[in-house]
């Protein structure tokens, strides 16, 4: 019996969220007495597939089909259903990222598999019942879900666990999916690349975020300087995206993206409950704000009462000094 895991590469590397999912699948496999089979697009550079073995996969199946170009989620659901049958898999793991959220629900409907979407802990197996914790109410709580169906799907929230790479190796082979019945009703016309995609926000370890306290979009230079010094992704509060000061994909919070980086630095953000909903899973939170009464300080680990225009450049210099001393 194998635990299936859907994986992807990006910019010449296996995605971090995919490695997390393979680690997670390996934990499940050792619990139910099986091995991990990772499935990946056949166009992936063969030189990086070894990382899937290091993360815990025993087998890697590459799938090449013209219909899967541009990441067709319907085609992938069909493919994974066929792989699950061939591999005798009852548990399928995804990262709760963009592709995971597009494929997992379709696969669930095909397999009639109960899904827990956005798991944050390793599952527990009790007979055929599996229980696993996920976040609910936008980070204000967690819930333990039980999956009662025979077939089970779990999507893992990115950044829930650090990636562990060992010295395992995986056997690599090609899987031929039968997609002849797949209707192509969605055509990709264009992919518009984001201007700054050095670090994908939901997967970023470090995030520098700013709000209305910055007063003008022209003032974002000091935010970017700090982010660059740290190697962090940039984010913003909702009004900032609404006013088009920053791109929409940087908007974090209840109605934006949920992040759970190791470090979230909030600059000139008051800490409204809807903002906190998207960031409260962060391991360490630093708040920089002129107002000592700003609600965000109650949700922070470290607070600095001060003017961002003075404090942030000072912090950037301190980070640079630290980096220079540690490299």
């Amino acid at each position: 019996m194998s635990v299936l895991v859907f994986t992807e590469s990006s910019k010449g590397k296996i995605r971090k969220s995919s490695l997390e999912a393979v680690n997670y699948a390996a934990n499940i496999a050792s619990m139910i007495g099986g091995t991990v089979t990772a499935v990946i697009d056949g166009a992936t550079d063969a030189g990086i597939l070894g990382d899937l073995g290091k993360a815990g996969a025993k087998k890697v199946l590459t799938v090449s089909d013209d219909k899967l170009k541009n990441g067709n989620p319907r085609g992938w659901a069909m493919t994974l259903d066929q792989v699950a049958k061939a591999e005798n898999s009852t548990v399928v793991v995804f990262s709760h990222d963009l592709m995971g959220r597009a494929i997992a629900p379709r696969l669930s409907a095909r397999m009639k598999a109960g899904v827990v979407a956005g798991a944050v802990e390793n599952p527990v197996m009790n007979g055929t019942k599996l229980t696993v914790r996920k976040t609910v109410f936008s980070g204000k709580a967690t819930a333990v879900y039980a999956i009662h169906s025979d077939k089970k799907i779990i999507t893992l929230l990115p950044n829930s666990f650090p990636v562990k790479l060992g010295d395992g190796t995986a056997e690599i082979s090609a899987f031929k999916a039968d997609l002849s019945s797949l209707e192509m009703k969605v055509t990709v016309k264009e992919i518009k690349a984001d201007s700054n995609t050095t670090v994908a926000l939901p997967e970023a370890d470090l995030v520098v975020s700013a709000g209305r306290g910055m007063k003008d979009p022209k003032n974002w230079g000091i935010i970017e300087d700090l982010a660059n010094a740290l190697g962090a992704a940039t984010a913003c509060s909702r009004p900032i995206a609404d006013m088009n000061w920053r791109p929409h994909h940087e908007h974090v919070g209840q109605t934006g993206i949920t992040v759970r980086p190791n470090l979230y630095i909030a600059i000139g953000i008051s800490g409204a409950i809807q903002h906190l909903a998207g960031v409260s899973g962060s391991k360490t939170i630093v708040v920089i704000n002129t107002d000592k009464e700003a609600p965000f300080f109650k949700a922070a680990d470290y607070g600095v009462i001060g003017d961002a225009f003075e404090v942030v450049p000072r912090l950037t210099e301190a980070v640079k000094k630290f980096k220079a001393a540690h490299h």
Binding site: A104, S108, A109, F137, V144, K192, Q274, V286, I305, V319
Partner: protein
């Protein structure tokens, strides 16, 4: 154009979440419920705009939930939906919802079925994709733009590293997020009209229960904040390195 909009009932975004003493359910005392923001602001409003632009058709709301949730359905009617259907059940999970909506929608020839990106209660992002598979329809997840010309929708959605522009043959299922429309506030006329718009109650058919919640736990608070001298950012960096161990 016939559009079905799936709406869910969620606690207002400012709610402090608390649970019943056994930890098995939300403590609803004093909680104000609203239409899930993605369903209202983006899916419903965009559906109304598309109907208005095409000059014909209807926008139908569908909700799987008990009678106590009728208030949010009336709100959706007040914003401008033509009619509504409530499937009378307390859904176990996304699969339950999708299965019921699919059973209702399968012979109704909707051009579009819209859902929100996710509910702010479950944060699952599942119902739309499940519905599409059950109805054998194309699906676009996390769409931020939706236009329709004839039988083809042009949709933009998030993909790794950017935004994809897609052409989708209708009928289709689309999950909606920010960018698609601006919120509408119901006016007095809308609120009055909503009282008499049709709200059909439909019995549940053969539900599947694949998952259940065993217990809820409120998120842990943080320990007290440590204040740092704004003139001493070296100290902050050193704490982030030595204490928090995040850089």
């Amino acid at each position: 154009m016939k559009i079905l909009v799936c709406i869910s009932n969620v606690p207002d975004t400012t709610t402090k979440i608390a649970f019943t003493p056994d930890g098995k359910a939300l403590n609803k005392t004093g909680v104000q419920f609203i239409i899930n923001p993605y369903d209202e602001w983006y899916a419903l409003v965009r559906a109304l705009e598309l109907k208005e632009a095409s000059g014909a058709g209807a926008v139908t709301l569908i909700h799987v939930g008990p009678a106590e949730n009728d208030a949010i359905i009336r709100k959706g009617l007040a914003i401008g939906a033509d009619d509504a259907v409530r499937i009378d059940a307390d859904p176990a999970d996304a699969y339950f919802v999708a299965e019921q909506v699919a059973a209702y929608a399968k012979d109704k020839a909707y051009d579009l079925i819209l859902t929100g990106k996710e509910t702010i209660e479950t944060n699952s992002s599942l119902v739309g994709g499940m519905l599409a598979e059950m109805l054998n329809l194309p699906f676009v997840s996390l769409a931020s733009k939706l236009d329709v010309a004839g039988n083809v929708a042009t949709v933009e959605n998030d993909v790794d590293g950017g935004t994809a522009v897609l052409e989708v043959q209708l009928p289709a299922v689309i999950s909606c997020q920010k960018g698609m429309a601006e919120a509408r506030i119901p006016n007095m006329r809308g609120i009055m009209a909503a009282r008499t718009k049709p709200l059909a109650v439909v019995a549940v058919t053969n539900p599947s229960i694949l998952t259940s919640v065993e217990s809820f736990t409120p998120a842990e608070g943080r320990k007290a904040v440590k204040m740092i001298d704004p003139n001493n950012m070296d100290e902050l960096v050193s704490l982030l390195h030595n204490e928090a161990k995040v850089i």
